[in-house]
C-alpha cells in the first residue's frame, strides 16, 4: 500500500509558494480545510489565486487570508458573507472571478478526470459567458468551460487512512471530493486518521489515488454560520 501520511500540517504544506493557484474545499464554513488555511496564514505566502466556492467570513476560513492580503484573486460562486472581501473587491485590490456553482464543481471534476473542457448551459446569455465559446446541441445553448489548472488542492474529510482514502460527513462533503486529484498535489486533512483497513472499501468516498498527502488536523472549530433551530413544543 502506498503511504500518504505526513506528520504535521507543516510537512503537508511543503512546496506551497507565492503566486500559486490553490483549490480549497468547503461550502460556507462547512468542510473547509481549517488547519491548512491556518498554516497558509503562518507561512505568509502571498499572491495566491484561490479557487473556492466561498471566501469565508471576516474572521474565519479564507477571510483570514484576505485580512492579511495574501490572496490576489478569488474564483468563487458566492461571496456574500464577507465584508472585507467586498471592500477589497469593490476597491479593486482583489481580482474576483464569479462563476456558477455547478460550473465550479465540474471544472474541478474535469481536471480530476482528465477532461480538457465541458459544455454547460449555466451562464449562457449572461456576462459569465462573455468572450467564451458557445454552442448549440439539440436546440439548447451551452458554454464551453475549461478544466481548472491548480498547483495544490486542500480538502477536508471526516475520516481518512494512511493510504489516502477519504470519507466525508453530511454536507461537509460538498466540493471536497471534486477537488481531490484536480491539482498537481492534493493535500487532505481529516478529523480522524484511522488504521488502514478500518474503512470499508465499499464505503470510501474518494480512493487514495487522488490524494498525495494526508494528515490529522490538530483541532477543528467547525463554526456554524447560521444557527437556525426550532424549539421543542
Amino acid at each position: 500500500m502506498i503511504l500518504k501520511k505526513v506528520n504535521s500540517v507543516q510537512d503537508a504544506l511543503k512546496g506551497v509558494k507565492n503566486d500559486m493557484t490553490l483549490m480549497l474545499g468547503g461550502f460556507g464554513l462547512s468542510g473547509i480545510p481549517e488547519n491548512a488555511i491556518a498554516e497558509l496564514v503562518s507561512m505568509e505566502v502571498k499572491g495566491l489565486t484561490c479557487i473556492s466556492n466561498n471566501a469565508g467570513v471576516d474572521d474565519f476560513g479564507l477571510g483570514l487570508l484576505l485580512q492579511k492580503r495574501q490572496i490576489k484573486k478569488m474564483v468563487s460562486s458566492y461571496v456574500g458573507e464577507n465584508d472585507e472581501f467586498e471592500r477589497q473587491m469593490l476597491s479593486g485590490e482583489l481580482d474576483v472571478e464569479l462563476i456558477p456553482q455547478g460550473t465550479l464543481a465540474e471544472r474541478c471534476r474535469a481536471a480530476q478526470a482528465g477532461f480538457p473542457a465541458i459544455y454547460t448551459p449555466a451562464g449562457y446569455g449572461t456576462e459569465v459567458a462573455e468572450g467564451k465559446e458557445t454552442r448549440e446541441f439539440d436546440g439548447k445553448m451551452y458554454v464551453l468551460e475549461h478544466a481548472f489548472k491548480a498547483d495544490f488542492a486542500f480538502v477536508k474529510a471526516w475520516k481518512g487512512d494512511a493510504a489516502g482514502n477519504l470519507v466525508f460527513k453530511g454536507t461537509a462533503r460538498n466540493f471536497n471530493p471534486c477537488m481531490c486529484g484536480a491539482a498537481k498535489i492534493t493535500i487532505a486533512e481529516v478529523e480522524e486518521l484511522v488504521p488502514v483497513g478500518e474503512l470499508d472499501p465499499n464505503q470510501i468516498h474518494m480512493p487514495g489515488i487522488f490524494v498525495q498527502r494526508i494528515f490529522e488536523g490538530e483541532k477543528y472549530e467547525k463554526r456554524i454560520e447560521q444557527r437556525t433551530v426550532r424549539t421543542r413544543e
Binding site: 455547478g102 464543481a105 465540474e106 448551459p121 446569455g125 466525508f168 460538498n174 456554524i224 454560520e225 426550532r230
Partner: protein, 217 residues
Amino acid sequence: MLDKNGIAKRIAKEVQDGYYVNLGIGIPTLVANYVREDIEVEFQSENGVLGMGPFPFEGEEDADIINAGKQTITTLPGASFFDSATSFAMIRGQHVDLTILGAMEVSENGDIANWKIPGRMVKGMGGAMDLVASAENIIVAMMHTNKKGESKILKQCSLPLTGVGCVKKIVTNLAVLEVTQNGFKLLERAPGVSVEDIQKATEGTLIVEGNIPEMAV
C-alpha cells in the same frame, strides 16, 4: 396584498405530489412550511443534500449538516448526502422538478437578474445560474416593486442577467403572473389588490384577459 409568508403559501400550491424541489434563499425557503401534508415532496439543497427536514431542535445543530443558505438543518428518513458535482448533476440533468428562487428583476421574455448590482452589490450567483439554465419549471418569488416603489416586472432587465428566457411563473405580493410570448399574463390578484394596482406596479406588458380571480391562499 401578501406578505412574504403569503407569497410562500401561494407558491406552495404549485408544488405537486412526487416533486423534487430546490428552494432558493429568502422567501423560497419559507415554501417548505406550507406544502400540503397529503403529498410526497423532497427538498434538495445544492450544497449536497436531498430529503431536508425542519431546523434542528436547539442543541442538536450539526456544523456538518447545513443547507445552501448555510442554515443548520435536519434530514428526513430516506435522505442522502452527496458531493457538489452530483448535486448539480441532479439540477443540470433535470432530475429536480421545480426550482423556486428570488429575483431582483424579471423581464417579459423570462429573463431573470438576481446576482449583481454593478458597483454596489456583488454577492455572486451561487447555484442560481445552473438552476435557471437547467430547470424546466421555474417559479420566481419576489416583491412586485423595490423599496423605492419601482417595478421589478420589466420589459427588459437592467441588471446583469442570471439566465435568459427561463422564468415561467412569478408570484409576487400583488399577483400571480405567467410569462408568455406576448408579455406577463395576469393569472390571479392578491387579496384586496385590483387589476389597476397591478397594472401600475408593472412596467412590462401586462396581459389581462377576462375576469381575474383573487387568489385563494
